[in-house]
């Protein structure tokens, strides 16, 4: 159906694809896996005309093909959901859905009525009920992802490519997605599916191709490949035991006074009287569905989201009206949800990114001390095992996992008392994920208070000592103890809705 032969793609300094051959059969759901930076997204972009291959050829429906632009690929029946929502946040939901192929009336003008009507109908099938005239950006990320999905599937596609479609979906939405995939499968449509969540792959994929460092290291039936083997192939080394790196044993949570105490956090309509506390060495998870207000809670504590009332205490000291500057001073470190937009500074080096928040401590009379910076950068690059060509490399050129670690290094360098981590493992591969998770454990063990937000229920359950469940900006329950299960979590979320 769709096939590439010996394709290479070279970026300045990187051979992103190295003589890759890949074959998608009709009606097949083909998993494409690999570490961060293995070349998955690049392969997809080559397949869909975003990039032109430097070597090799593309075959589509048995014939040699060449797509100059994504438009060409779309016309040929290849429809793609790219990694990270790629829609226009300022435009309305309906306009996004139909962009570039809007229905027109007999004067050649857009038929808004029809567009809205059809958009409503189509989206209903995906469980999205929001007003289609609303700005897309005001929708929750999950809903946005569903719009992107609907957009990709609604054209008469022969091939649908999905690059990490589930990274921002909640379990219910994932189910909807799988329903759609099964339906496409039945209709004989070929699907390429990229994900770091291995469970999903085994649920819906038939075949798998594993990329490592731009090369294909394995391709074949997925069912014939054991999980553990798959991971080893991806990483190029043996993996053993559990995939979650969180230690099973609950660390002793002391009855020391809490490092962080949030009381009655309230912000117009989004947060309502949220209170919880974190003790030193404790990992408190924030659970809930997308849009529950977890990110807002974290940002509010970090001073980046305006509060109407409520207060935040660190080590018993009240932060009067938290601002980001005050919060950092008090020992609060926030790792934002959106790494690219709010986390890293892509155009600066690893060194600058790590040192950024602690510059005053690394300088005298406003003059930075290179020696001090080098020392601290060296320390965290080693400690967090940051893989980069050197401290001078631009962060934007690192893989997702390493970007995340640089971000963590920046937080840790400030010597925080509390770490607030919003989706710390989103979009990073199993290897890096395990590293980040064990790091969280380590940090807690050193006596830091940690707040962890994750859409991955398992990660939350295993990683947290206690889970505070939010729904619509209200605390609806707290789960404690080692015996908490995913089911318990889901039940609490659901029960919260019935109150």
């Amino acid at each position: 159906m769709l096939e590439v032969l010996d394709v290479s793609k070279i970026f300045p300094g990187v051979r992103a694809l190295d003589r890759v051959s890949f074959r998608l059969a009709a009606g097949e759901v083909h998993a494409l896996v690999g570490e961060n930076g293995a070349g998955k997204s690049t392969l997809i972009k080559v397949l869909t005309g975003v990039y032109q291959p430097d070597e090799g050829e593309l075959r589509y429906q048995g014939e040699k093909a060449q797509f100059g632009t994504p438009m060409d690929a779309q016309h040929a029946g290849i429809s793609t959901i790219y990694q990270e929502v790629n829609l226009i946040p300022q435009m309305s939901v309906a306009h996004n859905l139909f962009l570039g192929r809007e229905p027109r009336n007999r004067f050649g003008l857009l038929d808004e009525k029809r567009m809205h009507h059809e958009a409503r109908e189509i989206l209903a099938g995906y469980g999205v009920t929001a007003d289609v005239k609303r700005q897309l950006g005001t929708l929750a990320l999950g809903a946005q992802q569903m719009v992107a999905l609907a957009r990709a599937v609604m054209i008469d596609a022969k091939v649908v490519i999905m690059d990490e479609p589930t990274s921002s979906l909640e379990p219910r939405e994932v189910e909807t997605l799988f329903g759609i995939i099964r339906d496409l499968h039945r209709r004989g449509i070929g699907i390429i599916y990229v994900s770091h969540r291995l469970d999903e792959l085994y649920q819906i994929c038939d075949a798998v191709t594993i990329l490592r460092d731009g090369r294909v290291v394995h391709t074949g039936k997925l069912a014939e490949l054991e999980r553990i083997k798959l991971v080893s192939l991806m990483l190029g080394r043996e993996m053993s035991g559990s995939f979650s790196a969180f230690k099973e044993s609950d660390p002793e949570v002391s009855d020391a006074p809490p490092v962080l105490r949030a009381r009655g956090l309230t912000s117009r309509r989004k947060l309502h009287d949220i209170s919880f506390e974190v003790r030193p060495g404790e990992v408190v998870g924030l659970g809930g569905l997308l849009g529950a207000g977890r990110s807002e809670t974290i940002k509010a504590i970090g001073g980046a989201y305006p509060l109407d009332s409520g207060d935040v205490q660190v080590d018993g000291v009240d932060l009067k009206k938290p601002t980001t500057v005050r919060a950092v001073k008090a020992g609060i470190a926030v790792q934002p949800e959106d790494r690219k937009a709010e986390g890293i500074i892509a155009g600066l080096s690893v060194r600058e990114n790590i040192a950024l928040a602690v510059l005053p401590q690394l300088s005298r009379f406003g003059l930075v001390s290179d020696a001090k910076i080098d020392a601290i950068v060296e320390k965290y690059m080693t400690r967090l095992r940051i893989k980069a060509s050197g401290p001078g490399q631009l962060v934007g050129d690192l893989s997702g996992g390493n970007q995340q670690k640089v971000l963590l290094a920046r937080l840790l360098a400030t010597g925080p008392r509390v770490l607030l981590l919003d989706e710390p493992t989103r979009g990073i591969d199993v290897g890096a994920k395990a590293e980040v998770q064990s790091l969280i454990d380590e940090l807690a063990a050193e006596g830091l208070g940690v707040v962890l937000v994750s859409s991955d229920a398992e990660e939350l359950i295993e990683g947290a000592d206690r889970v505070v469940v939010l729904r619509d900006g209200v605390v609806v329950g707290t789960l404690t103890g080692a015996e908490v299960t995913t089911e318990d979590l889901m039940a609490t979320i659901a029960a919260g809705g019935n109150q």
Partner: protein, 333 residues
């Protein structure tokens, strides 16, 4: 220069659509609201302001800036900027006056061709070389002015309009409102339809909203960019031409600072310089607002010319701050 503004922040999903829309209209049409208030106050205060003639004068004077701001709106909506419009405006006027000796049609055709070609050059450079629009069009500003000086012997030769029909277009009127105003009104309506009701218009918003996403969604980003600069060039040339028709000659001492006026009008009209959001209706209100302020300063009469600048600057700041405040209100409520 493209500052990242927090464009869309997540809002409460439960808010009713109607309040949403009312607040949005006030926010989006802030310039219109200010315009209405200013006009009402002037009506009450200055008897001369009320006259029909005065209104017609304001509209005629606003015609060329309106065309320029119309083109600028498209450019800014894609996240770009066009500094060359002031020069193209003068160039268009000089060319129109010169070409009027060959008749009515050439008087339009020549400036449109030349200014359109410069627009194409702007667009190609911006779309294909990824050079910043600011700098490409700054070069075009210099180049076009140089060209204008070259064809008018360093600006000393003024071509007189030879075609009577062309001249009539400049000074004649229908229902006591100048032809130019009708022409501009027609083009503005076309522009509104183009932006709101065609695929091209949506592509413009998409490119400004997120260039990368638009490309991945199959929008022809480059073609869209090229077109907006062509439109901007054409409209600036046309503005020059109708102005030449009105003045009866290709005046060479025009147009400095015109690009900043146009940008100011567009921004006052609520269009974000980062692109992706804004309306032509807002731009119209912005242009008229600037025109009315000018007119008011004259109505007050005998204001020292230097104070006039101070007042304009202050007013500009107030309007934009008010705009921003409205946007913030909307975000918080």
């Amino acid at each position: 220069m493209t500052m990242t503004l927090p464009v869309a922040t997540p809002e409460d999903t439960r808010r009713t659509d109607r309040t949403d829309r009312i607040v949005e209209i006030v926010q989006r049409q802030g310039a219109l609201a200010v315009l209405v208030v200013v006009v009402l106050i002037s009506f009450a205060t200055f008897p001369n302001f009320r006259s029909f003639d005065n209104t017609a004068t304001i509209l005629v004077a606003a015609a060329p800036p309106m065309l320029i701001a119309l083109g600028m709106t498209f450019v800014i909506l894609t996240g770009g900027i066009d500094l060359s419009v002031g020069s193209l405006y003068v160039l268009g006027g000089v060319l129109a006056a010169w070409a009027s000796q060959f008749g009515f049609v050439t008087a339009f055709a020549v400036p449109l061709l030349v200014c359109g070609a410069i627009g194409v050059a702007n667009g190609l450079l911006i779309a294909y070389t990824r050079m910043a629009p600011f700098i490409v069009t700054l070069a075009a500003l210099l180049g076009a002015r140089g060209l204008m000086r070259a064809i008018s012997s360093e600006g000393s030769a003024t071509f007189l309009v030879q075609s009577d029909a062309f001249r009539r277009l400049g000074n004649g009127s229908f229902l006591d409102i100048g032809y130019q105003v009708w022409l501009v009104a027609g083009l503005v309506v076309l522009g509104i339809v183009l932006l709101a009701r065609t695929r091209f218009g949506h592509a413009v918003y998409a490119v400004g909203g997120s260039e990368d996403a638009a490309a991945l969604m199959g929008i022809a980003v480059r073609r869209t960019k090229i077109w907006v600069y062509v439109m901007s060039g054409l409209l600036a040339g046309l503005a020059g031409a109708i102005n030449a028709a009105k003045l009866g000659s290709g005046v060479t001492v025009l147009g400095t600072g015109m690009e900043l006026d146009a940008i100011a009008a567009v921004v006052i009209g609520g269009t974000l310089l980062t692109g992706g959001a804004g309306t032509i209706a807002g731009t119209i209100a912005g242009v008229l607002l600037l025109g009315v302020i000018q007119n008011l300063i004259n109505q007050v009469g005998n204001v020292n010319s230097n104070w006039q600048q101070v007042i304009s600057g202050t007013f500009l700041a107030l309007v934009v701050v008010a705009q921003t405040y409205l946007v913030k209100l909307r975000r918080v409520s």
